[in-house]
Symmetry: C2
Subunit: 467 residues, 2 copies
């Protein structure tokens, strides 16, 4: 997008958002839902889930007075600009009043939506319907207890991967070739999409059958663009597989962001950073970048799986990523309960960074100000990143159980069966089914950190030579 | 756009179009126009023109029963697919029934809109408000009488330009550089747009401040992409300069397409194919393609101004282009009056091609089936291409009269004053003012072929060595 369009685009987005709110609170939707009440059994499972999702979004939207919705949108727009400035100047104090205002709104929303025990439960349905704060805490506790010492153990190993082999000179046209090849292999459908470049990679559906992915090339680093492509490719494959009806529905909240993220994480990490995938893909990479003909597959695979605590969430590796999320969840929950206030954030942030990751941000920009989410009114969103990782492991384990040949297929670059399985079990219910219910049906278990922990310990135990 | 999206995009477009129709026939618009009646004098000239334009579109839209509008859209969609097939097979007979249906609709519209003398007058306001068939005929008659023999005269000259110097090997990244440089020179605003590639070049406004241009690179030809870029650049400069209010209005008919085209033609031809422009731009081209260091500016300039009758309108040169339009206008007018029927078209087409251009299409695909317009329901559109050429000359003559230094500025690549003049006189009234009125105000004269004829005779007389 040209720079000069930012104001126009913001107005367009606000208009669409207001229209979305108007539609989801309209008499027509209410009447349609009433008509459908009790008759849902006659619908197919996808339609049932769509009705359920619509009912839930309708009821939540109705709880918010239109004026409050409007002033919230204005506050968010202001808070975002203030956050940009505060981050540039690395000064939390600049952001604090705007953040206080956002928290005020979010607390009000929690009261309007209503909840049983924990105000956090009132916000979760926007991002992860069916999930509760208690569930999250049940998931996080064992995860934190096992993950923090495991990261320490990895860091203590004498034989660390050599990341420098991922640096060099990688011309954009060759990186493009590599990214396109990776997307083709994982069966991203170019008939219904394309790859473009951007500053911060994302996936966007321009129309019902036009789901585009973007990536960002660095001239001196190989890994960031390739894994961003695989990540966005996973998101896109999910969108390309959803029920045709859902392709015409604009939803930016009220569905499981965790399930969406599970698909990006599966293709970025469980597939994209697996030895099986690289057994197939490494010769292709070597064909494009002959430099790697002198580097062993094993060393390359270790390099793309380097574990190293980072200050910045978006640069975190597969193992430490979830620790960044726990920290944010704990802060958000305490904020909503009124146990802490905005002014307490920088201190609390740094304490927890030290505790979970053993590193301390040298300034607010690299600490509490790093993420855009709160300035955009997203409180309750962060856990979905962690859940994405966990769900990905749960689903991948289930897929392997049902398809004994899967690992073997991946070493041959054959993703036909995996895609068909994901289409049938996950994608076709995209945006409509709640994650806990879907996971129970597909994996036999609700959201859990066990499969992910096991996967991480197995994989990185091998890579780091821990027996 | 990915191929698989075509159906989805068509549905999106149809939805927007239906919404456009609904809005322009809504009670709210009617009431707003009533309220404004008689109070227009208190508005600024741009607002006055906007009210006038809205009133005209409202009244015309109200004349069409919604059901007729819907069935017409369906017929167009069908006719377009049939036309694609007919053109592929080069068989007019395949297209004839669909064309008859379209003509039936268009004749009905003419009756519903109403007219005094000529049914063509009922259709013109969609594409060129303020223009009449009689005006057009008054413009075309002298044009045809002088142009046909002038083309013959040019073709008889012994010293023809050497077009082969425009062939060679032109890598896309270098052509991109050249196109970007050309757009920068003519002051296309990259802060509010960008250049992309496509099959058939076009300009599109994605948002209020995001007017994008596209071009199409051929690896072995230099001219097509460069002049397409300048052409689309002219369209885009017009859109970038319109009144801010108009940037939020979606109009695909009911405004002067001729004025829009005048801007693309001015930058493609009056500027882009002028010796003054190339005095400045040729060294830049030589910098990118050093091959041209061995070719004289004069020979290059002659090459890009080669006159050679072509079967296909879109490949026509600056001089013969208008002859293609006259032929189409005469056929459309006779069709609407019922003097001829669809079945007569292939014969009539070929007769007129022979008469005006001295060449005969070897098949329907290269003749009567070449253009998409009729299959899309556009009858009355073609004259705006010719008017674009004529208006461009009228405006360019007026600009030179008011800015004595303009020619000199162009040889220095300085387009600041020309752009400011166009902004003030033409662009700021974009989409709202009628061309005849605007031209009278800016040039002192209504639409006329005289300035264009004089410009053509002067320019090509020199190029072809006719004293």
């Amino acid at each position: 997008m040209p720079v000069g369009e930012s104001k126009g685009r913001a107005e367009i987005y606000a208009t669409v958002k207001a229209e979305w709110f108007r539609l989801f609170t309209s008499k027509e939707i209410g009447e349609a839902l009433e008509k459908l009440a009790g008759k849902e059994a006659s619908l197919d499972p996808g339609e049932q889930a769509l009705v359920q999702r619509t009912r839930s979004i309708y009821q939540r939207s109705k709880a918010i007075p239109p004026d409050l919705f409007r002033t919230f949108n204005e506050a968010k727009s202001k808070a975002y600009s203030v956050w940009v400035e505060a981050k540039e100047k690395s000064d939390f104090k600049i952001f604090q009043p705007a953040l206080e205002e956002i928290i005020g709104f979010v607390r009000k929303f929690a009261e309007l939506y209503g909840y049983d025990k924990n105000p956090y439960d009132a916000l979760l349905p926007d991002y992860e319907p069916g999930m509760t704060a208690e569930n999250l805490k049940g998931i996080i506790k064992p995860l934190r207890e096992k993950l923090v010492p495991f990261v320490s153990l990895l860091r203590k190993q004498s034989d660390q991967p050599d990341e420098t082999i991922l640096q060099g000179h990688f011309p954009e046209e060759l990186q493009t070739k590599l990214s396109l090849e990776a997307l083709r292999v994982i069966r991203y459908d170019f008939n219904q999409g394309r790859l473009d470049t951007t500053v911060h990679p994302f996936t966007i559906s321009i129309g019902p059958d036009d789901t585009r992915v973007t990536t960002h090339f660095l001239p001196d680093k190989l890994a960031p663009a390739l894994f961003a492509t695989l990540h966005e490719g996973g998101h896109a494959i999910y969108d390309q597989g959803i029920h045709p009806t859902m392709k015409w529905v604009y939803l930016d909240s009220g569905y499981s962001h965790g399930l969406h993220e599970s698909q990006s994480r599966m293709f970025e990490n469980m597939v994209g950073r697996s030895l099986s995938f690289w057994k197939f893909f490494y010769p292709r990479l070597q064909g494009i970048f002959p430099y790697y003909k002198n580097i062993q597959l094993k060393d390359f695979h270790r390099a793309v799986n380097t574990v190293k605590p980072s200050l910045i969430r978006i640069y975190a590796d597969e193992v430490t990523y979830n620790l960044h999320i726990m920290l944010r969840f704990e802060i958000e929950e305490a904020l909503l309960k009124g146990e802490i206030e905005a002014r307490d954030l920088p201190g609390l942030w740094n304490t927890k960074m030290q505790e979970y990751l053993g590193i301390l941000p040298e300034n607010d920009a690299k600490g509490v100000l790093q993420d855009v989410h709160w300035s955009s009114g997203y409180v309750g969103y962060f856990p979905t990143y962690m859940l994405g990782n966990l769900y990905a492991a749960q689903l991948f384990v289930a897929a392997k159980k049902e398809m004994r040949e899967l690992e073997e297929e991946i070493t041959k670059g054959n993703f036909k069966n995996l895609l068909a399985w994901l289409r049938a079990k996950v994608h076709s219910f995209g945006y409509v089914r709640e994650a806990p219910e879907l996971l129970r049906e597909v994996t036999g278990d609700g959201p859990s950190s066990e499969p992910w922990l096991k996967y991480i310990k197995d994989k990185f135990g091998k890579i780091y030579g821990i027996s």
